[in-house]
């Protein structure tokens, strides 16, 4: 009996010791890995003719980014606990705003543009105060946090066909696509982010997430131009419930959908024609199918 107790006790203590030793070891290993990556060929970025070096961004990352994204790039900086939405976890290397197919890594240019664009309705500011070189360096720095960048190549940017002319027929066709692919389930029949599934949505990490509200004047996170929104349909927002529709709708249908969604937005610089046509058509909210 005493022997059994002793053995049990020893096992427990050993397990505790292994656990205790493994915790700091994991952190240290991560740091070591990161140092190795910093010196590897993967720790660079290429945006046009611009080459970014990760090491050159260390000071900028510490000054501007570490409070939210954390020393290890895990999105767990000192203020992360107060933020909603949470800062990006660079260790996962999953990014919403890409020009590449769903499930693939974004291009360097995608990250480069995201830094300068910032993210509306989040705490990520518009960092257009950096020089292009500084931004390119930061892109390389972001990439050193995840081994995915060493193992995988960025996806091939999707082809965006020329944008057709907005017509009443196209807007009506877009309305049909909106119903057919069930955008309304999350975004609501009027695009007010109040669809039947809206309150149940979570991101890949299980955190509640809201669908985009087209009617409150918000700017889409990945850019507000027609091409930006087209890309969202065809690449999806990885890490969120917004899927890619590349396999479900044709490019022409994506443009139609875009034109219809523009009619749901308040007047802005991008939807004057769509709003005018919608008024003439007397569009009504889609009927859930």
């Amino acid at each position: 009996m005493r022997t059994k107790s002793f053995l049990r006790c020893s096992l427990l203590m050993s397990a505790a010791a292994v656990l205790a030793l493994s915790l700091p070891a994991r952190a240290q290993l991560t740091n070591l890995q990161q140092q190795e990556w910093l010196n590897s060929p993967a720790a660079v970025s290429h945006i046009g003719n611009l080459a970014g070096r990760a090491k050159a961004a260390a000071a900028d990352y510490r000054r501007y980014c570490v409070g939210c994204h954390g020393e290890l790039g895990d999105g767990n900086g000192e203020v992360a606990q107060w933020l909603d939405p949470k800062p990006r976890d660079f260790q996962l290397a999953v990014f919403k705003c890409r020009s590449t197919p769903t499930g693939t890594l974004p291009t360097d240019e995608d990250l480069f543009n995201a830094i300068a664009r910032g993210f509306d309705r989040s705490n990520m500011p518009i960092w257009n105060t950096f020089t292009k070189q500084e931004r390119a360096d930061l892109v390389a720095w972001i990439k050193h946090f995840s081994p995915r960048w060493q193992k995988e190549k960025a996806g091939e940017p999707i082809q965006i066909p020329p944008e057709p002319e907005v017509t009443p027929e196209r807007i009506k066709a877009g309305e049909e696509v909106f119903g057919k692919v069930q955008c309304w389930k999350c975004h609501g029949v009027q695009g007010m982010a109040n669809g039947p599934s809206a309150s149940t949505l979570t991101d890949d990490l299980g955190r509640p997430i809201l669908p985009f509200n087209f009617t409150d004047g918000s700017r889409p996170k990945c850019g507000n131009t027609d091409r930006d929104i087209y890309k969202i349909f065809m690449t999806g927002l990885d890490g969120t419930p917004m899927p890619s529709f590349a396999d479900n709708i044709k490019p022409d249908e994506a443009w139609d959908l875009l034109f219809y969604l523009r009619t749901l937005q308040p007047h802005n610089a991008f939807n004057m024609k769509e709003k005018q046509i919608a008024k003439q058509l007397g569009l009504k909210p889609v009927t859930p199918q």
Binding site: A56, A59, D60, R62, R63, Y64, V66, G67, C68, E78, V79, W82, L83, G118, F119, D120, R121, S122, N123, M124, P125, I126, W127, N128, T129, F130, T131, K132, Q133, E134, S218, R219
Partner: protein, 457 residues
């Protein structure tokens, strides 16, 4: 070991002990608490702004991410920051007039004093009232606790949806790219930029001090990334004093600057400013005492110069400000400064004529403020500043009378750098010499040594 050496060794030891004893913690005030950004995101070293901080300020204290309005904040959020500074300092002036048995001010001697001290309390409160509508109020006290309003202003941003149209009204800091209100050095001779306050010897124009907060309205605008910016202000010629104490003079203050992307070096900025104004030199009197608000006889003055902010990578930068100043001969003769009592040269009443040979004083000045940013938590700064008279108000005055040389060296170490509070250990030495202003007409020299804690919450 000589006495000054002992002092020096003592405060160095104290500094290093304190620096070593403090943990490498994290923290930040009002805006940082709101947005969860570290001090270092907006400040090259608190309180000096960096480019991103300047853009945030130019946007009306907004990140422009659709979460700026207070409706998005936790209801318990209260946009207030306190700032006060306890410190030890040593002040020395080499020639101070003193009384002797022979009579008052019949001799002069060096006066050196040192001891522990405090600054006044700054009570910053500012932020957005709604999207594109913000405010800033700063009741500020002297070290005895007597308060005045240093800043009181509201601003409307992005009028007509354009970042080029932003208006603020009230009492505010002029749009100086190198801000004296965010200066890194605080000592007697290093705590202000001389050219922002320079008044020639005997001159009565206190209205041309671009370093003082002024009452007025400002229109400013900037490009989306803040590379290009301008401002135009219409100010009461009162040096920021409320209550319509002077006359009905107005002053314009104009700035323009353009920043350039220079790759690895960073973003460089070149700009210019001009202050053009007029202010009273004549006051009606009652029983010989000037009547507040009765000023007439406006005379003109101007200040203009260039500003440069040059970055040489992430660790070293230089800020340069130049100034050419000119005052009307009436100011040069001492008219203008009244309402704390009689004007030094009397009141410019009807029929008063300028002294024979009175001329409009003019001068040129420049300072270079260099920063070595070892890390976002440790910054070293050195600033030489020179002012040279180019024309004295009186032809009889020595051409160098009033010329200034100031040198300041210091560092700030910020062991706390998060989104909750700011804390800095600072240490600096400043030295100043002004030609011909000692009681005996020789040069007057002063120095200041300072070590303290600067904090805000």
């Amino acid at each position: 070991m000589t006495s000054p050496r002992r002092y020096f060794a003592g405060y160095l030891l104290l500094t290093f002990f304190l620096v070593g004893a403090l943990p490498n913690a994290n923290a930040l005030p009002a805006f940082a608490r709101k947005y969860g950004l570290r001090c270092s995101a907006c400040h090259e070293a608190w309180p000096m702004l960096n480019y991103f901080g300047q853009k945030f300020k130019d946007n009306g204290y907004q990140l422009m991410n659709d979460r700026d309005a207070p409706i998005w904040q936790n209801p318990s959020y209260w946009p207030v920051t306190f700032r006060i500074t306890p410190f030890w300092h040593r002040e020395s002036t080499d020639k101070v007039a003193i009384d002797t048995a022979a009579g008052p001010n019949t001799s002069q001697r060096q006066i050196t004093s040192h001891g522990f001290d405090i600054t006044g309390l700054d009570f910053h409160t500012g932020g957005t009232l709604d999207k594109n509508l913000s405010f800033y109020v700063l009741p500020s006290s002297d070290e005895t606790g007597a308060f005045h309003f240093e800043t009181v202003m509201a601003r409307v941003d992005n009028l007509l949806g354009s970042p080029w149209l932003n208006v603020k009204l009230g009492k505010f800091e002029l749009d100086n790219l190198v801000s004296e209100k965010r200066i890194l050095t605080l000592s007697t001779f290093g705590g202000a930029y001389d050219i922002y306050h320079f008044i020639p010897v005997g001159d009565g124009n206190l209205f041309g001090q671009i370093g003082d907060n002024q009452l007025g309205v400002e229109l400013m605008g900037h490009s989306a990334n803040d590379r290009t910016r301008y401002s135009a202000s219409l100010l009461s010629s009162s040096d920021g004093n409320p209550g319509l104490l002077y006359g009905n003079g107005y002053t314009g203050f104009f700035t323009f600057s353009q920043a350039f992307d220079t790759g690895k070096l960073g973003v460089q900025r070149l700009g210019a400013y001009a202050m053009i104004g007029e202010a009273s030199t004549t006051y009606f009197t009652s029983n010989g005492v000037p009547i507040p608000g009765s000023g007439i006889g406006n005379k003109s003055f101007n200040r203009e110069g260039f500003v440069g902010q040059f970055y040489f990578g992430q660790h070293f930068d230089v800020e340069v400000v130049t100034q050419h100043g000119w005052d009307s001969a009436w100011f040069g003769a001492g008219y203008g400064d009244f309402p704390d009592g009689a004007a030094p040269a009397g009141n410019n009443t009807s029929g008063t004529v300028l002294p024979v040979g009175a001329r409009a004083p003019s001068w040129n000045g420049v300072f270079f403020e260099t920063h070595y940013v070892y890390s976002p938590q440790l910054i070293f700064t050195f600033r030489p500043e020179w002012v040279r008279m180019s024309q004295q108000a009186s032809a009889a005055a020595p051409s160098s009378l009033g010329n200034l040389n100031t040198y300041v060296f210091g560092y700030r170490y910020m062991p706390i750098m998060t989104s909750r509070a700011g804390f800095a250990i600072f240490n600096e030495y400043s030295w100043n010499r002004q030609r011909g202003t000692a009681p005996d007409g020789t040069d007057l020299t002063g120095s200041s040594l300072m070590l303290g804690f600067d904090f805000d919450f």
